[in-house]
């Protein structure tokens, strides 16, 4: 906002004062949003701590799968795997303080009861058991990604409002107030001089 271009009138000053009130309220809202997003991120970070445990579970499951592969061979294991019903999951967007984040809704879990071979069953059970946690962590990671981006944007907006927009508006208000005061004094002085001139002429 260029200070020099603003019209120096009382109307502009009133509008600017209203504007600054509005911007300050907006800044508070942005700050609230930022805090809410930050607390949401903190909550999600708690969920991500389970990632190490999931990694361990998955590694154990892959080891069991390797054992199943070498015990049964590719064709038999593939056949056993074909009986496992697919896991059903829906992903839908959910709004957290106006940020669209993914929400994973787990539908039908994979059914491993038809797996007859003991080694294939062990692998299927471990892998399908990890799926729920895997989806939970994937959801948390996806949310964090969206929220972190929005958090960064909100932070920038707050900074811009706090450090650039508000100071400039205040400066503009101060300038207009000063000019208006000067104009008032000038007017007052001019009126006085006019009054004195009229008296002298009489």
């Amino acid at each position: 906002m260029s200070v020099g271009r603003a019209a120096v009138t009382r109307g502009v000053l009133l509008r600017l004062r209203e504007q600054i009130d509005f911007i300050k309220r907006g800044k508070e809202l942005l700050k609230m949003r930022r805090d809410h997003l930050a607390s949401e991120t903190n909550k999600l970070l708690g969920k991500l701590r389970a990632r190490n445990e999931l990694d361990r579970r998955l590694m154990a499951a892959y080891e069991t799968l390797k054992t199943a592969y070498i015990t049964l061979g590719y064709s038999r294991l593939q056949s056993e795997a074909s009986t496992v019903g697919l896991l059903e999951a829906k992903i839908r967007p959910r709004s957290v303080m106006g940020v669209l984040v993914p929400e994973i809704l787990l539908g039908k879990k994979s059914n491993v009861t038809s797996v007859t071979s003991a080694s294939a069953y062990a692998a299927a059970e471990k892998l399908s058991g990890s799926m729920e946690q895997l989806l939970e962590i994937a959801e948390a990671e996806g949310r964090i990604e969206c929220i972190a981006h929005e958090l960064m944007m909100t932070n920038r907006k707050v900074n811009a409002v706090e450090r650039v927009l508000i100071p400039k508006l205040l400066e503009l208000i101060r300038y207009i107030e000063g000019r208006l005061e000067e104009e008032t004094l000038e007017e007052f002085f001019r009126a006085k001089r006019v009054k004195a001139a009229i008296r002298g002429a009489e």
């Binding site: 070498i70 015990t71 049964l72 590719y74 593939q78 009986t83 059914n111 038809s114």
Partner: protein
């Protein structure tokens, strides 16, 4: 005096047994640096003809597995062709395990709504199966596939369809298939003259299979009634009554239940293994026991029809071990891990 036909077959099998890969060569295969080296070493064995047809780039565990299974099926049917009389009937029924496995694969695929092709099945030529496998493959679902088996010895599967619908698991149908298969084999085993060796091996296979079914389903916490339904109705030295007791008892009581049977030695190992809540080591334990006993039979029953069955079991064991080695090499497993995965190897080595 044994019948001449049996003596001929046993003598023929003695010759065929020399084609099996020795434990020393198996160890060399395990030590091979790559899958390519394994396939090169196998060129000298019975698998050489098939492997040499492969272009160098196409050597992978899956292709080699197909070759191992083809040779295994060929070995089974070759010996069956050479047999005569009741022994041929027995071996024909014994070879039914490939057909049963193929039906299981089709049922599994139909249950999961997956497409299945002939290359996903064991390589069984039309003359070796009474089931129309191409038609089964084209069936639209499990019920359609089972209805195609109505006029075959697998007819009892039709009666299990209702249970399958209720339980929603193919386990019911697979158990029925195993039951039909072992029932057919067991029925004729008793009719073989001087067939104690055959009876011992087939009976042991049934018993160990039943023991594995009972324990693995128990580990899965399935109700005793369902476990009892999944058991093979034939039995040898482990009565179905004892197995039902096992299904109802705690896993820790397994050694007491197995006491007095030839499998009492397995009891303590079973208890240790079930602590892991996985039936996978049990599967290995029982298969090891079966193949090791088959291996021992080659030394004790060298003039008995049991020698033929032992040879077939060891052929199966060899195919499984080769699959373990090639798959292990492809997956980048170490020597020690592959060695642990081998079956019936410890005593023979």
């Amino acid at each position: 005096m044994k019948p001449a036909a049996i003596m001929y077959l046993v003598t023929r099998t003695h010759g065929l047994k020399t084609h099996l890969i020795s434990p020393r060569d198996i160890q060399l295969l395990v030590k091979a640096k790559s899958l390519r080296e394994v396939s090169d070493n196998l060129l000298k064995a019975e698998y050489g003809t098939e492997i040499s047809k492969l272009p160098t780039r196409e050597v992978d565990a899956l292709t080699l597995e197909e070759i191992f299974l083809k040779i295994l099926v060929d070995r089974f049917f070759f010996i069956t062709r050479e047999a005569q009389g009741k022994l041929q009937d027995l071996l024909t029924r014994y070879c039914g395990r490939f057909e049963v496995e193929n039906i299981k694969r089709v049922i599994r695929a139909k249950h999961g709504g997956e497409t299945i092709e002939e290359r996903n099945l064991l390589p069984l030529s039309r003359e070796h199966t009474i089931v129309n496998l191409p038609a089964l493959i084209k069936a639209k679902d499990v019920e359609d596939a089972i209805s195609l088996l109505r006029e075959t010895p697998y007819r009892p599967l039709v009666e299990r369809l209702e249970t399958y619908r209720r339980a929603g698991t193919t386990m019911v149908l697979e158990a029925a298939l195993d039951d039909i298969y072992f029932d057919k084999v067991w029925e004729i085993t008793g009719k073989i003259s001087n067939g104690n060796g055959v009876k011992d091996l087939v009976g042991e296979e049934i018993d160990l299979r039943n023991l594995l079914i009972a324990l693995s389903l128990k580990i899965r916490d399935l109700p005793p009634t369902l476990i009892a339904e999944a058991l093979i109705s034939s039995s040898y030295k482990l009565t179905v009554g004892r197995l039902r007791t096992l299904a109802q008892a705690r896993l820790e009581d397994a050694p007491d239940i197995l006491r007095g049977t030839p499998y009492s030695g397995l009891g303590s190992e079973v208890v240790n293994l079930v602590k892991e809540r996985s039936a996978s080591p049990l599967e290995r334990l029982f298969l090891n026991r079966l193949y090791e006993d088959a291996s021992a039979s080659l030394k004790t029953r060298f003039l008995d029809a049991g020698y033929v069955v032992a040879y077939l079991l060891l052929s199966e064991c060899e195919a499984k071990n080769l699959v373990t080695i090639t798959t292990g090499k492809q997956l980048g497993l170490g020597e020690e891990e592959i060695l642990q995965g081998l079956l019936g190897f410890q005593t023979r080595a």
